[in-house]
């Protein structure tokens, strides 16, 4: 029987979570449908005037992506917590932070990436230009992993609590505001002629920070919650 390495265990966690997501496809789809529905509510609420919708588009799409991510975060640890597999992960012979990062990556692939792919389709409904759509996609590609990771901290802290998803959102949304600001700012910079690159690089910097710190913080939060 061979021994698993740290990267082996990392890939194992991702493969496992993806396998589980495939068998529970409904969960994946509901997040996506929620995203589409929230975006569609805005024209219904504010009227179909194209000029206004075009202006609102980046904000609407980003807020909807944010809310959809929040919804799906409850699932990050709760199923594993309930059947005891989370405890076993905490007893793994490799760093818990690595395993947590693996779960976050899998979660993003299942909940965040579909949003990134769906967003341009919805952006067309808001008459966004091709260049704006491009910046939107890159921004979401950088930003949605950050949301998964910051949300992971919230999910770990609220593990098993009654307040559930709403409490998690309350804790995590303020922390996600910078991502929202830079993401929408990047898209708006396309039309105002300001620097798109500066916004995107700020997002990139936040992504690097999140990658460096959130797995470890989340691991600590898990240990606190499991006591």
């Amino acid at each position: 029987m061979k021994k698993e390495t740290m990267s082996g265990l990392f890939m194992l966690v991702i493969r496992r979570d993806l396998m589980l997501a495939m068998r529970r496809r409904a969960d994946v789809l509901t997040t996506l449908i929620f995203f589409v529905m929230v975006v569609s509510l805005f024209p219904l609420g504010v009227g179909p005037e194209m000029d206004m919708l075009r202006k609102m588009a980046p904000g609407v799409l980003w807020v909807a992506a944010l809310l959809s991510s929040m919804l799906s975060l409850g699932r990050l640890f709760s199923a594993d917590h309930l059947d005891g597999t989370l405890e076993q992960m905490m007893l793994a012979p490799q760093s818990l932070s690595m395993l947590v990062l693996g779960k976050m990556v899998a979660h993003w692939m299942v909940s965040g990436l579909p949003l990134v792919l769906m967003a341009p389709v919805l952006g067309i409904q808001f008459d966004m230009s091709a260049e704006a759509l491009g910046v939107l996609i890159i921004g979401l590609l950088l930003g949605t992993p950050i949301l998964s990771m910051i949300g992971g901290i919230g999910a770990a802290l609220t593990l098993g609590l009654r307040g559930g998803g709403v409490l998690l959102s309350l804790l995590v949304l303020p922390l996600c505001i910078p991502v929202l600001i830079f993401g929408t700012g990047a898209v708006e910079a396309v039309s105002t002629g300001l620097s798109v690159a500066s916004h995107l690089s700020l997002l990139g910097a936040l992504l690097v920070l999140a990658l460096a710190f959130t797995p470890w913080v989340t691991a600590q939060a898990l240990r606190i919650s499991m006591e």
């Binding site: 609590l161 307040g163 309350l170 804790l171 910078p178 830079f182 913080v217």
Partner: protein, 245 residues
């Protein structure tokens, strides 16, 4: 001095110390408030730009400053509690949160009262006010998380972690909100560019100190009641006159 701190880091001794200190802080706060507000409302001259309404800054500015500092102090106590496992540190963090939230709320409310005569609107998306609003959300999140967890140890440690994550995020959030504000050429609530009259400076400083003293008094009182509740099974609590009735 080092020895003194450790003696008072036990809830038992701190309870007594806090009890003795509260009246001092409370009374001096009341006196300074009276002095500060007198100077602010009567002695300081009418501002040539903003008329009488500006006087609200004597409450608005101190409460903003204090709400921000209290968050950092709360995060500091929370970190101490997490790292060193000291019960009292966690209790202090829990005691600070509601007061911090209150000051954040007062800051927002007085900001609105100030804004209305100035801009005709009850709310302006000024960078500082918006950051203050987010700070209030951070406080409320801390309080909500602590309240949602039954086990006191887990509650303390989880909210401590949240407070630390929040305080690390505060500079990032503030920076991004400022960025957002300048991008959208938002309005800025600023006091008139000219230097402040001496009386105004005095009033501001005095009310700031008064608010601090008030905050300390309230927090000490709250931490005493938290100590009573948490330690209610221990012997020394049952021997206290308040508890024996």
């Amino acid at each position: 001095m080092a020895i003194n701190w450790f003696k008072y880091s036990a809830p038992t001794t701190f309870y007594g110390l806090a009890g003795k200190l509260i009246p001092w802080f409370g009374i001096s706060a009341a006196i300074l408030f009276a002095v500060g507000l007198y100077i602010g409302f009567y002695v300081a001259p009418t501002d040539y730009q903003q008329g009488e309404f500006y006087r609200i800054i004597f409450i608005h500015v101190p409460s903003s400053i204090i709400s921000m500092f209290l968050y950092l102090i709360m995060a500091g106590y929370a970190a101490l509690g997490l790292i060193f496992n000291t019960r009292l540190s966690s209790m202090m963090a829990t005691a600070i949160a509601p007061t911090g939230a209150l000051f954040a709320f007062i800051s927002l409310w007085t900001g609105a009262l100030w804004g209305k005569p100035m801009w005709g609107a009850w709310w302006v998306w000024d960078a500082r006010l918006t950051s203050e609003l987010i700070l209030l959300f951070l406080y409320l999140g801390y309080i909500a998380l602590h309240a949602s967890i039954d086990d006191p140890r887990r509650a303390d440690r989880a909210s401590a972690l949240l407070a630390i994550v929040g305080s690390v995020n505060v500079p990032i959030i503030y920076f991004s909100v400022k960025w957002w504000n300048t991008l959208h050429q938002g309005s800025t609530i600023k006091f008139s560019g000219t230097s402040m009259h001496v009386a105004m400076q005095q009033a501001m400083f005095i009310t700031l100190v008064a608010c601090w003293l008030y905050a300390i008094a309230v927090i000490l009182a709250r931490v005493r009641s938290i100590i009573l509740e948490r330690e209610r099974h221990t012997k020394w609590i049952t021997e206290l006159p308040e508890v024996k009735n």
